[in-house]
Every structure is written in C-alpha cells, then in structure tokens.
C-alpha cells in the first residue's frame, strides 16, 4: 500500500499500550529509505466507503455527535519513532559483569553492577544451562514467570508472557498472577456489591447513548480522560467530555488535583483529600436517608442488606452519625458543598465516570469506597435512564458487548488466534504479583507456607476470593530461584519497589533473566538481558476496539529492520527453545503467515470478509451494528426486571450487606460485610487521623502519569521538553515534577523548581517543585512510573520513582490489591549540588538531559563512547 509518492510506503501500526493483544491507537506509518518518516492518524474511510461502515450518529438535545473518519491519536503515538531510536535501546544481549553461574553470582550487587555485551549464542547457552540446572535441582516451579502488561501491544510477538507458555511446555513454572491492578477497589470490593462478573466494573453497554439522552450530571470521580485514555484509545475520550458539556450535562470533577481533564472540561472541581472519599460518600448517604431523597421502591425490589447499612450511616451501629460535618473534617469538602452535591444528585439523573478509578480505588482499604459507590448508585436507581457508571477506557474488554459503551459494533475483534503472550490461566503454583517480595524475602516451606486468598487475577469470580492458596504448594512446589521477566517494571509500578529491590538481591534468586527493548527499571537488576525489538521492527496482526469510532483489525507490516541484534519477545523465547532442543515443539511449525491467518480466522472479522480480501486491503473496518440505539444501556435490564436479569451476587440483587462476606469473613474489620469508612487499621496507617501523620504530614497522590504510560516513554526527548513532564534542577538533571500548593510551598520554604525529597520509613525519592493551584493544600502530587535512577538501590532514587516508597502491604488483610497512592510522606527542600558531593557515583553517571539515563551508564564497553 503506498501513497502518491512511490518512494514512501505506508503501514498500519497499533501503538496502544494495553498489551495482551488488546489494541488501540491505530496509526498510519510512512516509511522511506528504511526509516520511519512520520506517523499519522489512521483513516477509516481510506479503503471503505463511508456507507459501508455505517457511521453512527447520536442526535440529542438539538445537537449531533458522530465519529471522525480518522483515529484521534494521543501524543504518545506521534512521538513513537523516538522510542524506537532511544539512546536507551538494548541492541545486543547483555550479561551482568559480576554474575558467573559457575562461580560467584554476587546477587547483592544487582542494581549497581554494570553489564557487558555477549553474543546470542553465549546468552542462550547460559540461559538453557540455568533452566536445565534449576529444573533438575529444584523442579520447574522454582522459576517465576513474570509476563504481563502494560507496554507495546503485539500478538504474534508477545509480549507479555511468551516465556510462560514455553515453560508450561517444559513442565510448568510459578505463574505471576497479575493482581487486578487498576481495578483493586472494584475487584476486592464492588464485586461483592453487584457482582458484574467477570470484570466487576459497571456494565457499559450503550452508555454513551444513555448519558447523552438522559444524564444531567456527571461525576468524574478520580477520573482523567485527558491522561489515562492516552495509552488506551487516544483522544476520542476528550471529544466525549466536550460533547457532554455541549449538551448541557454538568461536569463535576471530584479529585485532589485539578487533573488535566478537569482543567479544561470541569464545570466544578471538588477537591477531596486522597483516600477519604468513603467519608464523603457516607455523608451523601446520610443526607439521602435523613431527608428521604433516595429511591426507596428501587431499594425494596433491587437490593438486600440495606437496613444494616442504614444503621451504620445514621450512627446506630457505632455511635457515629456520618453527617456532613463529620465527613467534612475528614475529606476536606465544605459541608455546604456536600449538601449541594447530595441534593442535586438526588434530584437529577447522575452517572459516575471513571477511566479505571485511579487513585480512588488503588489505595488502602479501597474496597470500601468502591462498594460505597455502588451503594450511592443503587440508592438513586442504578440502571434507570441516565443513571450508571461510565468508563472511558477498555471498551469491549474481554470481547464483551456488556463492556462496550459506544454504539454497538457488529464485531468486537480480537487477535487471540495469533497471540503468543501470557494468558490468564495459572500454573499449579502461582504468586499474586503483589506478594512476590514477601514470598522471596520470607522463609516459606510446605510446613510453613505463605497463604493468601484468591488467584487475584482480573476475571476470576468473586467467590475465588474465599479460597485460600499457599506458596510453596504441597505437590512438587518449590521456593523461587529464578525469575524470567519481560517488560519488567515491578519496582516503579507496584507496591513497595524498595522491598522488591531487596527481594531481587536475595541470594535465593540465583538467576534473573529479562527481555526488554530498553535499559530501564527492573532491567537494572537482571543477570542477563535479551534485546527486544519495537513495534516497527516486526510484522504482526492487530485489532483496535478502543478508538471510540469504529473497531478494526489490520495487518501490521514490518516497517524497518530490527535494530542491532534485537529480536521480538517471541523470537527470544524461540532462541532459547532451540538451545533446549524444543523449538519445533514450541512453535508447532507455525510461520508468521500461519499466525496471521489463524488470528484473522478467529478474530470475528472472518464473518465480514475473506482472508484474501483482508490481506489485499490490509484492514477490516467493522461497521456499526444496525439498531444499536435499541440496546438497553448499562444496568437497564436489571433495573427493569431484577428477577429476570439478576446480578451475579449470591442474592441476585445489589448487596448493601454482602452475603458472601458475612459468611466467609464476618469479623474482617478491614473489609466488613457492609462497607465502612476505614481510615487506618492493622494493615495500613496512611491517614491524617493517625499519629503517623505527625511525622509524615502530607498524603502523596501518585497518579497514572501524564507524559508516560506507566513506565513507558520516560526517555522521549520531545516529551521531556514539556514543563509538566520534567523540571530542570541546578545540576542540569531533569527531575520529576512534584505538585505542591502555594500555601504548602510557603510553609515548607519551597520555591518553584527547587529539588525536593519525598520520604517516609521506606525510603526517599527526589523531584522538583511545581508550585501550583492545581493541587489542594495538604496534598502532594507526583506521577508514578518514573524510570529508576537509584542513589542507594533499595533506599533512595533520583528520578522520583515513588512506587519505591509506597506501602508493600496490600489493600487489606484479605485483599491482595496494591496500594500505590494516598499514603503518608514528608517533603523537604534539598540541595542537589550537596547531594552530588554526598553521592558522587549516582550523581555523576553518564547522562543526557534530553533523554535521561542512557545505556552508557550501565554497560561497561559503552562508557567510553561519546554520549
């Protein structure tokens, strides 16, 4: 496929970051003379007449909303060639200089040792040797297979988790069960309120239609459709925010920071102290109960367990009435604003908006605000016109039309038939991702196992949360002795990175193998790193179900030759398979062509065209389904007929008091049978109400980052020039911005641009002050996911990777979700020039301010090369 100028060839590429084959951000990539020339939006009507794809139209309140005939790409797509050519690319296999599998492994040096280049042959010899040895010595479960998103989205080429399938073939491995991250509160909490298996989040079908027609107020609760959506679908979410405003729906943003969407779309910003939403929610319930402004009839027919909840709210259970006065002191929202919000919500159809819930459901005890959200929606007739929960990302998740808020598409395509990455099934021995440091650092055995509840992977049913699992398992179980990881970013993305660093340095872990395109984050702690190619460097097949316009399936040609000696994740595994003599068994003789064909034939698009036509056109744009307006939106079926359309709860109703929790965890004070406000407890003390806040007087809000997707793209020069992305210190280093309110800045003696230290008992990270009215007083905000730049590995970090100092403890005693925001810290100004004297090596590594830490700082031979 080429355009007018015959020298330029154009390819389709999906540049989204979900991973797991769930694509988005479809682009047209122009290639000339072997390099990427430019990246442009994909045009839906390039190969299809407009009528063929049956464009939808939402015509309400005198206005029209219809999709553009092109994808609306986020900045991340446009800059992506920079990522391919990053100074950080690993272009050949690397081995840690002081790791010798036949001698000293020096595990305590991981993170500080440098790397040397080795050949593919030597690398695969070492790897094959280690796998054989570990299997013989400890058994297959001694290897932890960590392969999960988020990062580049590929099908044939992984990632994430090609190694898992391979190891299963060799007898198994310990699966890292990816905790339902981003869904913590929904998974551990609201599933026990409304079920909604398998995902647990609010039903989405046709919600755009419902909100457009009937909703009068939108509560964007911890929701930033100008940020989180960028990795998952691009900027149609932004158009949607604008559309809702234009048709007169009041847009209220409830969040500690004036997030990027609030800053342009909010009609009202209600600042709320992190992780105190439960108090605000209870006060709203209190007002509805005492003023008799909730839908009593609906509760009578659609809910159970309301009476106990009511007793708690009005103060009969614990002697504390959950009044606006009580709540205001906790959450920081003025009493009169709480009342105004409650009154309007009771009067007018209101829908709550989320991307995935953000810090709101990813904090200590986040099961509770999630369940309380369900309670509030239930009390106002969830599922009646205009009343639901709206998600701005992950449309059509798991291929389910129930989770597709856009006008219904004929097909939700998938690439499962071509996909070689990890699937959601688990091996006999597994570990929740959130418990890996604990597993490694503890002395566990079959006699003294580590135990927890639930597989914890998203999609597992709620009653799995009552099943106890252990590590190691009785039958053939083993402690971990090897980790095989791809796209590794545990330390900067999960719960308590400094603890994980300690775990990675444990002598128990004899070998760490990583595969990744860039030298970043957990790669620093690996023993061998295999170089992985980027999206542009291989062919594949992709789907896009998140554009918010039309779904599509397309062939992704190879744009350029792989850089250096890089191979795709799948090819890395194949090389190792060759050394172990099982290549044919692993690949089953499938060529890439075979994968593409099988991917197409199982995609759903095989009902729309033949494979030959697909290869000729290179794309299938899926038409809108006929009569999409008739799809009953969201929870409408349940609202209309609860007996005929029950929820997947034990009672089939909305459970204000959970029957299952009452049965299995009746005495759990941290996730009680009915939801409560839990400021602190046995598992967490991250609250202003706790004495610990005297020493650490600020709550840190750590959001999904604006200029990264989690840990991706921290090294892109064009992004780092943007003021809210990095702030230059006096030492020329580009620090991660720390948002601080002017009143707090004055109190702490901090000025714009000052380098600051954020700390608690778990360690400290640096940043540079961005003094702004976009953050409420008493709250500090720093994005999560900065690329590690350890000062003292396991203690301190220059780059601002605040996941290093977030709690290691999970959501609560029986809930293994991560807690990565809304925790206590102190802040102080530091002198970066003095720190450089105190820590000369980390502060004087080879560094490029435009792109950050560079490969030369970690690889021995590269040191002498010009940066």
């Amino acid at each position: 496929m080429s355009n007018k100028s015959s020298e330029v060839k154009t390819y389709y590429k999906g540049l989204g970051f979900c991973g797991f084959g769930m694509g988005s951000n479809s682009a047209e990539v122009d290639v000339k003379d072997g390099k990427v020339l430019r990246i442009r939006p994909m045009q839906f009507d390039k190969k299809n007449a407009k009528e063929e794809i049956n464009p939808w139209k939402i015509e309400v309140r005198g206005k029209t909303f219809e999709p553009k005939m092109k994808t609306l790409l986020p900045p991340f797509s446009y800059i992506y060639k920079k990522r391919m050519h990053s100074k950080n690319r690993i272009l050949y296999p690397l081995k840690r200089a002081d790791w010798d599998p036949n001698g000293d492994r020096n595990t305590e040096n991981r993170g500080e040792s440098k790397f040397v280049q080795i050949s593919w042959d030597e690398a695969t010899d070492l790897i094959a040797g280690e796998i054989r040895r570990i299997h013989e010595q400890y058994g297959p479960y001694a290897i932890l297979s960590q392969g999960d998103g988020h990062g580049e989205t590929k099908a044939i080429h992984g990632p994430h988790g090609c190694q898992k399938n391979f190891l299963e073939m060799l007898g198994g491995s310990t699966t890292q069960a990816r905790n339902a991250d981003s869904w913590e509160g929904w998974y551990w909490g609201i599933k026990h309120f409304w079920g909604c298996e398998p995902i647990g989040q609010g039903l989405q079908k046709n919600m755009w239609w419902d909100v457009s027609n009937h909703t009068k107020m939108l509560l964007y609760w911890g929701c930033d459709p100008e940020t989180t959506t960028w990795g998952w679908g691009g900027q149609n979410a932004s158009r949607l925010c604008r559309w809702f405003k234009e048709i007169g729906i009041k847009s209220v943003f409830i969040c500690p920071d004036l997030n990027y969407a609030a800053s342009v779309w909010a009609d009202k910003w209600i600042p709320v102290i992190p992780n105190t939403d439960a108090a605000l929610q209870l006060a709203i319930m209190y007002l509805w109960i005492t003023e008799d402004t909730y839908d009593k009839e609906y509760i009578a027919t659609h809910a159970v367990g309301f009476e106990e909840m009511k007793q708690y709210v009005i103060g009969e259970e614990d002697g504390v009435a959950k009044t606006p006065e009580w709540a205001s002191k906790i959450c920081g929202v003025p009493t009169y604003t709480i009342k105004a919000l409650a009154r309007r919500w009771a009067k007018e159809a209101t829908t709550i908006c989320h991307c995935n819930g953000g810090s709101y459901i990813r904090s200590a005890y986040s099961s509770e605000p999630a369940r309380l959200e369900g309670c509030l929606l239930g009390m106002q007739g969830l599922g009646k016109p205009g009343r639901g929960a709206l998600k701005f990302i992950e449309f059509g998740q798991y291929g389910l039309h129930e989770y597709y808020p856009c006008p219904r598409s004929k097909v939700i395509p998938n690439v499962a038939g071509a996909y070689n990455g990890a699937t959601y099934d688990i091996s006999a021995q597994f570990l929740p991702k959130t418990l890996i440091p604990k597993a490694i650092l503890g002395d566990w055995s079959v006699e003294n196992p580590m135990t927890w509840y639930g597989v914890t992977s998203s999609g597992f049913p709620a009653d799995d949360q009552f099943v106890e699992y252990q590590y190691p398992i009785e039958e053939g179980g083993s402690e971990l002795h090897m980790i095989w990881t791809d796209t590794p970013c545990w330390t900067t993305c999960w719960n308590g990175g400094n603890n994980m660093i300690k775990a990675l340095r444990s002598p128990k872990i004899e070998f760490i193998l990583a595969q990744h395109p860039w030298m970043e984050n957990d790669c620093l702690f690996a023993d061998i790193i295999l170089p992985v190619s980027s999206k542009f460097e291989q062919e594949d097949i992709a789907c896009d179900v998140q554009s918010g316009a039309f779904n599509s399936l397309y062939y992704e040609g190879q744009c350029v030759e792989p850089l250096g000696e890089a191979k795709s994740d799948y090819e890395c595994v194949c090389e190792i398979a060759k050394k172990l003599g099982v290549h044919e068994e692993y690949t089953k003789g499938m060529t890439y062509e075979d994968f593409i064909r099988r991917g197409f034939e199982n995609s759903g698009c095989q009902t729309l065209m033949s494979y030959e036509e697909f290869r000729a056109k290179e794309i299938c744009v899926v038409p809108t389904a006929d009569n999409w307006e008739e799809v009953v939106p969201g929870f409408g079926d349940f609202a209309n007929d609860p007996e005929g359309n029950p929820m997947t709860t034990p009672s089939g109703k909305l459970e204000f008091t959970s029957e299952a929790l009452s049965e299995y965890f009746p005495d759990d004070e941290e996730r009680p049978p009915h939801p409560k406000f839990i400021p602190f407890g046995k598992t967490h003390q991250e609250s202003y109400l706790h004495p610990r806040s005297e020493k650490y007087p600020y709550l840190l809000e750590s959001n999904h980052p604006r200029w990264r997707v989690h840990a991706n793209m921290d090294d892109v020069t064009w992004l780092r020039e943007i003021p809210t992305c990095k702030v230059r210190g006096r030492d020329g280093y580009m620090y991660e911005p720390v948002w601080i309110n002017p009143a707090d800045a004055k109190k702490e003696g901090i000025a714009q641009g000052d380098v600051v230290k954020l700390y608690n008992e778990r360690g400290w990270v640096l940043g540079a002050a961005y003094v702004t009215e976009r953050i409420m007083p008493r709250v500090i905000y720093q994005d999560h996911g900065a690329r590690l730049d350890p000062i003292v590995a396991g203690e301190s970090d220059r780059a601002g990777a605040n996941n290093l100092i977030c709690p290691t403890n999970t959501v609560s005693e029986n809930c293994s979700g991560e807690v990565t925001s809304g925790y206590l810290i102190a802040i102080e100004k530091v002198d970066e020039l003095e720190l450089a004297k105190q820590y000369p090596e980390p502060f004087n590594r080879p560094y490029c301010p435009h792109s950050g830490q560079i490969l030369a700082s970690r690889v021995l031979e590269e040191e002498t090369r010009k940066v």
Partner: protein, 269 residues
Amino acid sequence: MKVFVIDVENCNGCYACQLVCKDEHVENDWSPVAKPQPDTGHFWIKMTEKTHGQVPKVKLEYAAKGCMHCDKASCMQAAENDAVYKRPDGLVIIDPEKAQGQKQLVEACPYGAIYWNEELQIPQKCTGCAHLVDEGKEPRCVEACPHDCIQFGEESEFAGLIAKAEVMLPEVGTKPRVYYVNLPKLFVAGLVYDADRDEVIENAAVTLTCKITGKAIQVATDDFGDFWFKKLDAGNYDLTIAADGYKTYATSIVVNESLNAGDIALTAK
C-alpha cells in the same frame, strides 16, 4: 490567501500540535522549503499554558503559538539576500540556503517564532508544512488536533470567525495572518452560602461592575452556590451579591490575574 484560525475554546493542551511538528521536521529534509529541525530546543509551533485562579476555582488556558505568517513580516524586513519570502498562498518561508548565517532573524521576530539551528547555521520556523500543502494535504498540526482548534484554509472560508478574532501583538504592525478566537482572558469566580443555615445560596444575583467603564455584568449563582464571570479584562471592579432575605454584600476587587473571590457568606436580614 490562506490563513490559520486557532480557536482555543476547546484546546485540551495535549501538545499534539507541538509534537507532530517535530515528527514531520526532525531528521527530515524538506528542501527547498525547510531543512531538518534539531531534535530539541525548537518549537515551530509551541503549546503555551497558563494556570488561572486559586483552589477550587482553577482553569487552564492553552493556546498554540508559532509563526504568524505576517503580511509585513519583520523577518522579511530583517533578511538579507531575499532570504525570506511570502508565497502567493500567504505562507512565509525562510529559504534554508539563502538564510545561511543570518542569525539576526531570530531577534527580528516579535513573536519569538524563529529559532537558530546551531548545527546547520540557519534560522528556522514554521513553514505551514508548505511541502504538504503543495501536495494538497493539511499542515500536520491541523490534522493532529483532536478538536479542530487549528484550522487552515482560504481567508474567505473563515470570514465569520475572522470578524470576531484577535491577533497577537497587533500593535507591532506586522499584520499577522494567524487569527485567535475565544481567548479566555481572565475570570472572577466564587461561591455564595448562608453560614447560619450551612447551605449554599442558589439564585443569588451577583454583579460585577467595572469601575472605569461602569459596565455591569450580572449572573445568578447555581445550585452549588457558584458564580463565574469569564472573559474579563484586567481592572478594578465592584462585586455585589444580593439575595432575598439577605443583606447585600459588596466589595472591591482588583483583577490582575484570574481570581477566586472565595466562599462568601451572606448574613440574613
């Protein structure tokens, strides 16, 4: 003659315009229109941002700014050797060959839209993606903007918008051909409540009167007790709030920057 019209009302500050310009021009040679842009430091179109107000009445103002493709461009005046020319379609181009060594063009531009390329020793700026326009395509920033904030086309197409538009720095007399619509200027906002009843007051009449012109604007508080006055010029104002059953509240405010007038309690009569 082609012009740019930039409507900032719905600019979401995504920076796509600034970034696609780099995608198009860094390491890509579009001679004779432009040589490659350096990797960093140039912003041929630049996203600008300003935070307005104080917690919780805060908004962001975003506007893309770059070369204004002026009719009487200062760079054309300051150039030697006919190094800068205005095309029939209105786009102003710096000839990358003829402009060798002409660093004076950087300072000549009152909009700061010209950047020096140290490696190539030439001044550079936005070309309006002339090389794409000549192929019947859109400038990259126009294509990338999710809200169609940046438009490019025949002057006559945009007559209505141009009539209510502003230009940047009209006083320097360069006759810029990039028109801006819906610049937000400043706001004054606040919340009105009854401290005794501890309730917001809806439908209070809030009046803002400019002390110099005497012009008065009135709005009613909404059901959150909020009021907003938008698109104001800087100045001194009288603010009065009246509601049935309450004493009228009056104060003077100085508006140099957008202002949250605060949560204002009315006292009962």
